[in-house]
Point group: C2
Chain length 436, copies 2
């Protein structure tokens, strides 16, 4: 590559949107990536580095020199540096922090102390604070100098002498204001803020509900410690959705398509094997009713139908509860109302299925009305129960703050399997005792 080529390449490449630069970089083979690193300054490369996921970041990190890395970290957002360093070996992280710009390093260290999945962990330190006494024109002048470093300049947070949040001015308000108006007169004092240890999902819901572009984060003694912007929040909502899905399918952390078949199997196998052991319970229950089965073998034919229908009903209720918890409508409606509704729904579904199936079996199974009655009655009871279990279990789990993975779809289905089999065979055995 000649000097001239290099200049042209740099120009074209740096014209690209950072997101596209990241895409181009990811497509490159390692030798080319290394060459690109030589062409770009730490500042220019910092945008790309921030756009990579943690795995790729670690990979790239091994190929860049210590000095280059430190310089790059100085240009990165403190929250991205904190995320990266939290993944690294501790000694190494300390070395880097000591070599970094003092002020930047302090921000990073602070962010590293907050618990994961809280407001503190996802907030950024790059925001603009202004004082109550400035005029609109002064603030605009200040912005000209400092705007580049901030994550967003669309909300400007007004703080008092003790660094406490006093109000907020949107850039919109600032533009509309007369140049000589002072901030005190323009700012809104009704600021919605979140505490630094607030759950990240709650913050996401808040921003979504109010259509905010950002919310300020408040630390000890009401001090303004950071802000959370809408783009961080979209990622949080996405992450929570993936979690919900993972729980639903007992494949938490394994929906990533970039895993190899082996690592996907390794992540998924424990769930499948665990659930298979639960399946041994159903095998055991059926084994106990071997005598009943021996007398009416055809009973076996309807086992999957009853278990399946109860399972589907339970899954529907589960979907209602999981989404209700995620969107906050459970809190709004109250737990009892949901349980009552699901019970009602389950009873009605049970009646419908009972009538339909009793009819079909009566007609097509040579008028075997005993079988029809056993299956119909079991369906009614199993469905009513399944609807309640599907809704109640995740709500209880959520209350008890146990790992919600154990309330996932397959687990509820297994629970419903066991209970519906017990209902089915109990009814069948009782009926047979009476008749035979």
């Amino acid at each position: 590559i000649t000097e001239r080529n290099l200049k042209m390449f740099r120009e074209t490449f740096l014209e690209l949107h950072p997101t596209d630069q990241v895409e181009v970089f990811k497509e490159m083979e390692l030798p080319l990536q290394k060459q690109l690193l030589l062409f770009l300054t730490p500042e220019e490369f910092s945008d790309i580095f921030q756009g990579l996921d943690l795995e790729d970041q670690s990979e790239v990190f091994t190929h860049i020199g210590f000095q280059y890395a430190v310089a790059m970290f100085n240009y990165m957002s403190a929250d991205d540096v904190a995320d990266f360093l939290l993944e690294m070996e501790v000694e190494n992280a300390d070395d880097i922090l000591q070599s970094m710009d003092q002020e930047e390093a302090n921000k990073v260290i602070e962010l590293m102390t907050y618990a994961p999945r809280t407001a503190g962990a996802i907030m950024t330190k790059e925001f603009i604070r202004i004082s109550v006494e400035s005029t609109a024109a002064q603030v605009i002048e200040e912005l000209r100098e400092t705007a580049m470093a901030a994550e967003t300049i669309y909300y400007l947070y007004v703080v008092d002498i003790e660094e406490r949040l006093a109000g907020v001015v949107s850039l919109r308000d600032l533009i509309i204001a007369q140049p000589d108006q002072i901030i005190d007169d323009i700012m809104s004092t009704q600021v919605v803020s979140v505490p630094v240890n607030e759950d990240q999902e709650k913050v996401a819901r808040l921003i979504k509900e109010y259509d905010f572009l950002a919310v300020p984060v408040i630390g000890k003694e009401g001090k303004l410690v950071g802000i959370i912007t809408v783009d961080d929040v979209i990622d949080v909502l996405e992450e929570e959705t993936d979690d919900d899905f993972g729980e639903f399918a007992a494949s938490k952390g394994a929906t990533d398509l970039n895993l190899t078949a082996f690592s996907a199997a390794k992540k998924r196998a424990p769930w499948i094997v665990l659930l298979m052991f639960f399946g041994m319970i159903t095998a055991n229950i059926i084994g106990r009713f071997e005598e009943t089965l021996q007398q009416i073998v055809i009973l076996a034919a309807f086992m999957p139908l009853i278990m399946g229908t109860a399972g589907n009903t339970g899954t529907q209720s589960l979907a209602v509860a999981v989404r209700g918890l995620a969107t906050g409508s459970v809190e709004k409606n109250g737990v009892w109302q949901i349980v009552k509704r699901e019970l009602g729904t389950g009873l009605m579904l049970g009646v419908v299925c009972m009538i339909v199936l009793t009819g079909i079996i009566g007609l097509f199974y040579q008028g075997n009305w005993l079988l029809a009655f056993i299956v119909g009655a079991s369906l009614f009871l199993a469905l009513s129960m399944a609807a309640v279990i599907g809704a109640v279990v995740p709500l209880i789990i959520n209350r008890l703050k146990i790992d919600p993975a154990i309330a996932s779809g397959p687990f509820i289905t297994t629970l419903n399997d066991i209970l519906s089999l017990l209902i089915y065979f109990s009814i069948a055995t009782t009926m047979m005792d009476k008749i035979i």
Copy 2:
């Protein structure tokens, strides 16, 4: 209520954030709502009306006079008016549009023509367009006058004489620029835009990926027709997630917690009954193997275990495929790679389960190695197949653009049920023929 009370109430109420006003309004009983309407001007009430969902809007609409409604619609965003009118009887909508402000009505009519779930249907017409030749100072002056009506002023779209999009200036760039710089020099000409008929989910992904606050929407001949802002996009992502969940649980459109038990049952019953009819297929299959079952009744005990394990494996693969389609990583990785990976995962899960279960049955079922072999071999085949089906079916459905609801969790589980039963009983019957 005295005059003085009224004034105080108005002041307190109007100080609230519109989202909170909506909450307060929703909590009120009907008579109080009606009284509130009398106290607020159409402009003041328009914020509340926009925040209600369509059902509540219809309800409120019946209580407000025609003139009040028309005045209110003039103040609302054209996209919200279009959404509301699309839900109404046509004659009524025409009356309203004819009485509305001409310019506003035209915007609404235009928005009503776009297909649902496209960029056109979710975009807003309230945005700011500026000309190439203005100076930064001139634009800021313009903003002072027009900013109130726009949905966002953080991106200003630059258009040429033919209303074609020429570039974009962020308010941030504008602030940083020297007052006498002309827009042509400040603006970025590399604007990412979307066509008016683009799928809403693609737009949402784009905004998410690039951390945009808004994207411009381009109509015929490259004309700028509207913008889509990040808060609309969060709602779209949420909506798509709900759809995905609904499909997963065969309860599309029924995860809403505000439905009564009866209407929830009405929406969910068709799925449950339909799936129950599929369950009749499994009952039929088992019925055909009645002879085999009569000889080894204990075979029935492992039916649920095999079906369940295959079902869980299929559901995991389904979760991978559904999330992959939603996040666009299927497109990135290619269909074949996913099928290959899922087959690999399925084979490995199959081997693990086969070994574990063959051992357990051999040990605990009085060394019944025939049973152990039948169950183990069935598990291996059923799991390998289930993993592929779970991944392939939604991908095919997506390709064929059929209603993806038929690829939902329970349907795939039913398909896996049928196939795994066939595998199980075929192996069992063959083995017995050989031995007995």
